[in-house]
Symmetry: C2
Subunit: 147 residues, 2 copies
């Protein structure tokens, strides 16, 4: 999934239109792959290009993109829902390191729990399809500052 034509086809399949607004929202998210943007942040970034856009459109677009699996909605550490681009070749979710001091979020792309998933399935009969891991602690620079 890369160029505009691909997206157009994805939309067409479902009888949807690839409007300028939708393209701009998608672009803003994809250009910032590690920023975990909130709806409000996406809104103001898109507004720079398109001052007329309404926040309702942003929300409607976000839930559309979520349904189309182009964007993932996550809850991390605070009271906001955040959005990140789905990386198409990622089999499982990636995970997040959250610093308790400065709030920085770092992604880790290792698949952490493959063994564990099998283990849980055997013990409980629950078939695990995916996992999400949050690691809380102190990032390198905060550790140095507070030493």
């Amino acid at each position: 999934m890369k160029n505009i034509e691909d997206y157009k086809n994805e939309f067409k399949k479902k009888g949807l239109k690839l409007t300028g607004q939708r393209l701009k929202v998608l672009k803003v998210i994809q250009e910032r792959p590690r920023e975990h943007l909130s709806a409000e942040e996406i809104y103001s970034l898109v507004k720079e290009d398109d001052p007329g856009i309404g926040i309702a459109t942003v929300y409607r677009t976000l839930s559309l993109l979520e349904n189309m699996q182009l964007v993932k909605k996550i809850h991390l550490y605070d009271d906001y829902m955040r959005y990140e681009a789905v990386e198409p070749d990622e089999e499982h979710e990636h995970h997040h390191l959250i610093c308790n001091y400065c709030g920085t979020i770092k992604d880790i792309h290792e698949d952490l729990l493959e063994d564990l998933e099998k283990n849980v399935e055997q013990k409980t009969g629950f078939q695990v399809h995916n996992h999400r891991v949050l690691l809380f602690g102190t990032c390198k620079s905060c550790a140095l500052e507070n030493k």
Copy 2:
């Protein structure tokens, strides 16, 4: 932490009062250790005993109990914040198995990631203090139904 006197002392230390409303909220949560109740659910459960209670009191009590570490506020899979009793001898958080079909949440109390935490610290310099794991999949009974 078990009987009312213990709680009374905990509150007294901070100049707080252990009112009937606070006790009822605490009781409702502690009697349902695996139910991950939302504020609204807690409100209606307490109302059965005390129809006059206001939802503002429930929210104020919940954030008080959270600060006192008697209750933990978590976000699982939907748009609600949920509350569960803190289990006093639990060193790390426990984790959650979430069924994609019926929404059931099961707790698992194993400490899943001790090795991994060390691994991440070595690789990234991020000191991990705690972790939260969500496992998504299909629970036993849904697997049987949809077979």
